[in-house]
Structure formats: structure tokens, C-alpha cells
Symmetry: C2
Subunit: 338 residues, 2 copies
Amino acid sequence: MSTPTLRDVAEAAGVHAATASRALNPATRGLVNAKTARRVMKVAEQLGYRPNPIARGLKTAKSGTIGLVIPDLTNPLFPPIVRGIEDILEPAGYSGLIVNTDNDPHREQSQIERLRSRQVEGLIVATARVHHPLLERLHDEGVVMVMVNRRPEGVDVPSITPDDAAGIELAVRHLADLGHTRIAHVAGPQSTSTGVTRARAFRAAIRTLGLEDDPRLTATAAYWSEDAGADGLRVLLDDGQEFTAIVAGNDLIALGCYDVFHERGITCPDELSVVGFNDMPFLDKLRPPLTTVAIPHQQIGAEAARLLLDAIADPARATRSVSLPLSLVVRGSTARPG
Amino acid sequence: MSTPTLRDVAEAAGVHAATASRALNPATRGLVNAKTARRVMKVAEQLGYRPNPIARGLKTAKSGTIGLVIPDLTNPLFPPIVRGIEDILEPAGYSGLIVNTDNDPHREQSQIERLRSRQVEGLIVATARVHHPLLERLHDEGVVMVMVNRRPEGVDVPSITPDDAAGIELAVRHLADLGHTRIAHVAGPQSTSTGVTRARAFRAAIRTLGLEDDPRLTATAAYWSEDAGADGLRVLLDDGQEFTAIVAGNDLIALGCYDVFHERGITCPDELSVVGFNDMPFLDKLRPPLTTVAIPHQQIGAEAARLLLDAIADPARATRSVSLPLSLVVRGSTARPG
DNA sequence: CACGAGGCTGCACTCGTTTGCAGTACCTTT
DNA sequence: AAAGGTACTGCAAACGAGTGCAGCCTCGTG
């Protein structure tokens, strides 16, 4: 026979199913005789009874699942975030349902529909599009959600973001400490909020540290990609700019810089230092290993899950947002200027 | 008000809930008058009706979910597999529930318990332990499952595995074609089935290609790790063996070889060629980019999902197992012998 | 000793959907 | 015109657990 039901337990313990239900539920256990409760629990244990969450969900309108909306699990950015989320969800008795949107708005919409029809109790959204009417609508409909890696615009939704500005300052300060004075920035696309924030933070850090604040030392990559990063650095180089260090908008852009080094016979870190952003896996395997700003992905995920659970428990609570501190991982791509 | 229920639709369409149910379900639609069916469907559409899978699951004892048991999502091996699985599951109306075991048998057990109590209809297991009493028990209890990356021992369960032997032969043949005759192998731990299979395949390939079959050209790494790989190569080198190319048990071991090259001033590929195994992400970013055998991770996941869906649809069907062909990705770490 | 008050427990209904069975109406056939 | 079929449709009972309500028993109190 298959898994025992509540009735089986009740029968075996010689009580009514209702009593068994109350005995097994810590919240209602006080309503039943302590001795009876113990007996029921023991029988349940012996029979290996597991409450059927589907049946429970039907009655309580709670599914015990939450939806994780991400662009693509294959992007190494997300697995640690997901892991962090699951680690919090699991002890709380929740499970995560992952959907990939591939950054396609239609897919995103239909995937979220799927999640909603599966009765998820909340959403953790990690997709990156800036303006987002769908999310506004969901929020209006009372769907509980939390955003990750991006501060929502207009919508009153809690969010978890890395403190980009502080991270950039960490990078610049590290280079300044090494003795660099002319530092360049290959920024990410200025159509993304991260790209803008980091570029702005770069200039701010340069100024507060009293370094040379030359707008010509900033190039912009068209995409968050290796190729675009390489192009960005080439522009700087072909422009005849002089600099001894580069702060890249993210790790992929830094990898693009590596390609240009190779192509033009520049040695790193002797002639040019680079620091990346994100701390993707395997960066320590590069030659030279890349110095980068590490984002606490797992912690971000965990924090997001905690926020969501709070919001589910008490939807009225004021939305709060968290900005997590970053750290610098110093490896071999940065050194004193030659 | 919240999402409309089947009864709401039925009422709005002027029929009984049972009729609405039949009209909405393609399988039973033939039982109801075509005109009525159309009306019901139109009303459902207008009201934005979404069947509640929880209620449906309660009645049909099908949850529409399947469990994905993996050691750690953070390991870059798994995201593509998971992605491949989800891509098949989704159009079939299923969702995957991911759990991480961290290779801890206790955790594995409790996680699988969790999945079962959530009424998953099947399991895709990608954990690596060799002997596995838990899985045998589950199989005996009639739990439908599929194994990934590992052929089950003793248990009669379908599995999807990469064709390791063919992959190794690809690597050896590539090196032979380049002109190498004395090829070494830094094997993975011989306590793992993959380690054994690949080492055996290596010797077999050497012989079929008529190369020098010298047992002293094989060293064994104690773990699937960079350090262990480095140690393996050092043994070979210190032994005074002569060879011009290395087939590494996997990419991490190959990375270990890179470390030794660096440490002893050996240039790759001029003095020594290397080929890895797995095609981890970012291998193309190394200097030199690593030639390696690529495993079709996503396809493996997809195939596993297909097999599982088949098994769910028809549990009686004979278990079949699939071995997927691999391909060689030629990059910069292999060249003609100097 | 009678009565009221708790403390427990059981009854029965509910959640939203599916499905066997019974019924109705209409059509065909003899 | 009656009998039998067919094509629908409705009724009601599930699935497994949660919960308001009523009833029972027991104990304490006046």
C-alpha cells in the first residue's frame, strides 16, 4: 500500500481523524488531551505518516511553493543565488519553483502565469528589464514578491541589491593604494541601471580619492560581454589615452580586456592592472588570476528568501529593501604601476 | 475577488460544474456537445479561468511535479542539465523541484522524503555515490526514476550517461593525428566508475591506434581536483617518463597540469599538449585555451526528462538506457609535437 | 445531590476538481 | 407507437486534510 493517510493514523490510534489532525498540528495540539496527542504522534511516527501538502494546500489555500523567476539558470550568476534561496526556503517548509525567461517578455509572462496557476505564494524576481508593466500589474493584484539585483522603479516592492557603489569604490581604492593615479573605466551598457550606477560610482570614487578625473578615461561597452569589453578597451587605447589600470564594469568586460592584452602584447599586471566585478567562477584559473569585486550571491538569495517569507507572513508590513556590502578579492591582475 | 473557480465558469455558462470540467479537458471534451463545449471554453477564457492544479492533483493523485536530486546546483556541471530537463518538462505541463544533497547521505534521504511527501511523480537522480541502498528501496517501492551521469548498479533503472569511452578515443585519436606517439594519461580516482572507465578506454584507444602502450605512462590522481591532477603529472615527470601529450581524466586535472607547466617552465602546447574532459565553462578563457571533450549536458538533461515522462506514462515499459555521444572541442592546448 | 463549566472529542462540511453512474431527451428502427 | 439506442448532462461521491459547532463526560461547586 502507498503512504498512510491521516485517517489511517487516526484509526490505528483509535481516534477520529479530526482529533488526529489537531494532535499533529502544533498550533492546535493544545485542544487535545496530552496523552492522546502523544499516542497519535507515536502512531504517526511508526506508520511513517507524512501529511499530504496537496490536500492541506487545497484547504488552506497555501501551496508551500514560491516562484523563482530568472533569465537563465545557465548564467553562472544565478545558481548561487538560487542555492541561497533554497537554503532558507527549505527549513521553512517551502519549495522553490524555477522558471527561465531567457529575457523574453512573452516567455516571462507565460511563465509567471504558470507559476500563479500553480498557486505559488510569492515570487522572487531576478530578471533585469528596467521598465516592467507586468510586475506593476502583479503587485497591484496583491502578489507578494521580492526583487533581486535590481531596485524596482515606481513599484513599491522590497528588493535586495548589492551595494555597487561601495564595490566600485573598493576597487578604485585598491588601485590607488597600489599607486595608480590614472585609472580607466570600461563601463557596462548605460541602458542598464547597473551600468549607470557603477559608472557614476567610479567617477565619484576617483574624485573622493583625489585622482585624475578625466572623462576621456571612461569608455562604454555596448553589452555586458567579452567582445563589447574588448571593443571598449580598444577605443581607449586607440584614443592614445594614458593609464595604468582599468576598472571593468563586470568580469566579462574584464575578460575582453584580457583578449586585447593578448592581441596587442600588453602584459598584465606589469603594464596594465585590471579589476573585474562579480567574481564569476574560475576567475582564479586565469593567467593572471583576475582581481575582482565579489558579490555575496548566496547571501543575496538568502536575504531575498527571508524578505519574501516575512512578506508572506505579514503582507501589511512596510516594504523594506536591503543593500548588501561587497568585498574585494585580490588576485594576480593588479600590481604597482610599472 | 480572487481567481475564478470551475464552478464560477460553469455557472456563467449555465451548465453544471461536471460538464464544464469535461468541456475544458481535451481528453473528455468529446463527451459534451460541441456547441456547449465551445461556450464553456469561451466563458472560461473571458473569466481568465485557470484550473487549480492543487485541487486537480488531490483528485487525480498527480502533482505535475518531478524531483531533481543533485549534489549542488552551484557546481557548474548541473545548471545546464537542469535547464535541459526543465525545457522538456515545461511543455509537458510538469515542473521540477530541485533539491541539493551536498553529497550527504542523510541530507539526501531527508530531501527525497520531502520530495515524496510533496507527491512528485518521478525522480531524476544525478548524485554520484556508487552503491546506493536508498535508491534500491525507492525502486522497490515503485518510485519512477531516471539516473543521470551514472549507470546504476544492480538496480533496474533507466539512465543517461555520456559515452566516456568514445570521448576518450576522440581525444587520443586527435593527438595521434597530430603526430604524437607517446601519450600519457593522468587518470581520475579509480574508486569512481568514471575514473575506471576512462582509464580503461585510454589503454584501449592507444592499442587500437597502434601507439606505444606503456603502463608507466598512466598516473592516477587521488581526487577529481586541480591539486591531485598536478600531483599526478609531477609523478610522471619525476619518473623520467618521456611523452609529448597528456590526456587528463577531466578538466580540473588538466588545470592541475597547467599549474605544473607554470611551475616547471614547460610551454604548452609547444612542449606538451593536453586535452581535458567535460568542457567546463570558461575553459576558452585560459592561456592556452584548453582542448577538451565536451559533454552535451543540456541534451543529457533533456533526454533524462524524456525518459522519465515515458516511464510515468507507461511504467510497465522496459527500462531503456541511453549513452550520448561526445564531441571534441579543439582549442589551443594541443599541437604537433615540437 | 444537582447543576454548571470546562476539557475533549466526534460530526459534518469545506476546499476545487474529477468521474462513475443515473437520468433525460431525442432519434432511429421495427 | 413502442422499444431500443445514442448523445448529452447532472448528481453525488470521492481525494486528504482542516475547522466551527455540538455533544459528551467529568469534575468542581453550591
